[in-house]
Symmetry: D2
Subunit: 265 residues, 4 copies
Amino acid sequence: MDITKRLGGEGYTFWGGREGYFSLLNTNLKKELDNAGSFFNMAVKYKQKIGANFQMYIEPKPREPTKHQYDYDAQTVIAFLKHYNIEKHYKLNIEPNHTTLAGHEFEHDIMIASAYGMLGSIDANSGDPLCGWDTDQFNMDVKKAALIMWTVIKQGGLKPGGLNFDCKVRRESTDLQDIFISHISAMDVYAQGLIAADKIIKDGTLPKMLEERYSSYNSKIATKIDNGNSSFEELERYAIQNDEPKQKSGQQELYETIFNRFVNW
Amino acid sequence: MDITKRLGGEGYTFWGGREGYFSLLNTNLKKELDNAGSFFNMAVKYKQKIGANFQMYIEPKPREPTKHQYDYDAQTVIAFLKHYNIEKHYKLNIEPNHTTLAGHEFEHDIMIASAYGMLGSIDANSGDPLCGWDTDQFNMDVKKAALIMWTVIKQGGLKPGGLNFDCKVRRESTDLQDIFISHISAMDVYAQGLIAADKIIKDGTLPKMLEERYSSYNSKIATKIDNGNSSFEELERYAIQNDEPKQKSGQQELYETIFNRFVNW
Amino acid sequence: MDITKRLGGEGYTFWGGREGYFSLLNTNLKKELDNAGSFFNMAVKYKQKIGANFQMYIEPKPREPTKHQYDYDAQTVIAFLKHYNIEKHYKLNIEPNHTTLAGHEFEHDIMIASAYGMLGSIDANSGDPLCGWDTDQFNMDVKKAALIMWTVIKQGGLKPGGLNFDCKVRRESTDLQDIFISHISAMDVYAQGLIAADKIIKDGTLPKMLEERYSSYNSKIATKIDNGNSSFEELERYAIQNDEPKQKSGQQELYETIFNRFVNW
Amino acid sequence: MDITKRLGGEGYTFWGGREGYFSLLNTNLKKELDNAGSFFNMAVKYKQKIGANFQMYIEPKPREPTKHQYDYDAQTVIAFLKHYNIEKHYKLNIEPNHTTLAGHEFEHDIMIASAYGMLGSIDANSGDPLCGWDTDQFNMDVKKAALIMWTVIKQGGLKPGGLNFDCKVRRESTDLQDIFISHISAMDVYAQGLIAADKIIKDGTLPKMLEERYSSYNSKIATKIDNGNSSFEELERYAIQNDEPKQKSGQQELYETIFNRFVNW
């Protein structure tokens, strides 16, 4: 933290890869979590004391090397931060590869962290959903890149923070130029994703479909629900007074088809 | 809720099996989570209004029928409850089978919920870690039952709440008596687990090993850490003044061996 | 089989979804496999008896509804057919979704079946690698479609056989038009895949890289190995006489980058 | 192989951990499999040439370090051996941990290899079904040990071959005595498993239930099916002449309950 401040670093990431358990038999979960809470509280105090203003991040990962890591995924870390009253001092550094290891879609933790205003930075690598360990591959999937960049644009960018490559070439690579090729290619993939996301937004079809799908959430009754001013009694009356609502199709395949148009052509 | 009150029910469980998404492309995560928050807030208000005093539970499940359910696991639900300020009104009803589907050990969600004072009740079934869906089998594993009952004893029991069987006989069962046999057997398994847990506690070897493993957490400096009265600076001084700590082995195999003695003979 | 013959059907697929076990405790594996062998032998004889000339297929699937299905994946089925001496009477109908459930890459069973001359037909759906059950989604991934079509072109097409959609719209679909949209879209995806595969082949870069990577397999010594005319002694002499071979990089990222060019722009 | 012969070794195991692929894009599956076939054929010839009579084993493993290993599981290896006409020269060395990584039950590959007369030796370790990598833990589960030993007894033992520990203590272990404790404990677990398996066989309840479950496989018509002397036509007549068969329950829970009695008390 001292060095980050001295160097003018804008961010400081905690990755607690050994903060977890190998067996529940020899583990006191609560003591370990409380201690982790104390640790992260002391980090907040120390940052204040040295007058640093970098952003602190926690990077979730479900396991490896431990069997179970306490920073399992985005929501688990948010729960942890809230429990120990330090949520305003940290953001999340999401590695999509870790997200799939936690059983979620590649882009899930990006989106859920963003939804709660906690997406700080992105470890822009990729994994192999069939291998149960952290492969740290270069992301070569433009569709996934487009989903991530769409989320980043929607939240107004990452500032501070950004996309960094926590990647390595595959084990079969023996040429130095592979490192060159893979970095350029993965950057291209994110550039293609950014272009696709920008087109999706400017075109407006998908955003409009999404808005339309949730349009009933803007009705008078929905606003009362949002504000905490409604009740089961009122909703019961509403349901009786109004006809059975017309069911709207989820149209997943249509969304996927339109999304494909921005990525593949 | 009205009927539960009228019947003198002591618990009311919410299982949001359809509260999740099939595709992130057509989903507004934040709106859906906020609405779920409003719903559970209204449930609190409604319970108060009708003067009911049953315990309300949320039962985590990671997926199925949806691809991703918002009540993914114990910690995700705790995060949700804290975010919407309703954590004191709900406890968790843990189904171990759902825990393995979320990528955690069978007993993990039981223990983590208990650690945070949120374990309310147990759906005492079992799953198949190799099948990716909810098999709702009768638990036939005494070791797992012992771990669960040990946790229940440690937190002083489940009151209200308890162990209920959300189980069904396998698809190949065609005899009525299988239902009889399976219920009795699974009850026996939990009874054996309870006996084993009781012996483990009375014998004291494992609890003492565990206490010993964490004994440095009771030192003067550890107490200051716990109380939030320490700092990185103090810990740095402490580390310099004191020798490198003697590393204690995790002894996982010893724990497993001793645990086995209480279960298998 | 009678009806297929009467209708002039060109193919007949066996899918043994219930031919597997739920528990090894109550199962005699060998008896069940031998009986399955007898069954498929009788099917061969019956087809001959009625003078039918349709192609018979077996469709591998690892589980669901059973915990373990005997037709686990392509190689397991090939083993089975060889053991019971009926491999020349059957081909495989591969469903990529089942392949991922068996822990293999989407395109793996297509390629391995093709490598052994056993790829007969394709159930052209897709699954969700994070959901452990058969979702039968419409394939919306052009990259995967390109890999499949590339394999199909390489083996000279599927004749008889073809691509059929064993797909259904998602649970959230309530509009009839979703069925229309999803079929058209998934057909488009395979058409895009076919165009990409054709371009890959005509462009020649990737096929040439692949040929180059295995070029030492065409050397004199390699031909002797292939023909079963070499030996460890000869290879030892060869290794001593020749210098350490220059190691060729696997260049996975370069392959992925070039492949992307044919799919994404 | 020379050294094994000189030392009087009774077995020689091939584990092809790097014989697989990282990406299908840069891989010629057929060439690699054919080369592997040539290699194992040359090993047969070399063994004959040096006049050795040790048993050769192949140890299946689905992945790690590669993304996909050609020796995926027992049935895949059996298919491979049959295809290259060397099945009588090799047996399998099964590591249960690898079996779960391939998506099968711990004991599955032991049983399936035994069913086909191919079980030669056992790497008696254990894995973690929730971690997707090879943890090589000491097996502490008596139930699993009992299933394995029951299979070994049924096939008349392993000769040559045996149970060897390919295990290591957990990462948190720092005491030398952990290695001592873990080996003794895991040996005890297999000893308990052997005692349980012996009791199961001598008691006879489970074997008799299993025999009874398959008793119709001993009928006159079943014998004709077994011998390849039946036909669909005959079976059709049989089905019409005889009443709908009385369905027998799979009784999985009863099997599990009785099995538990031999393991837990």
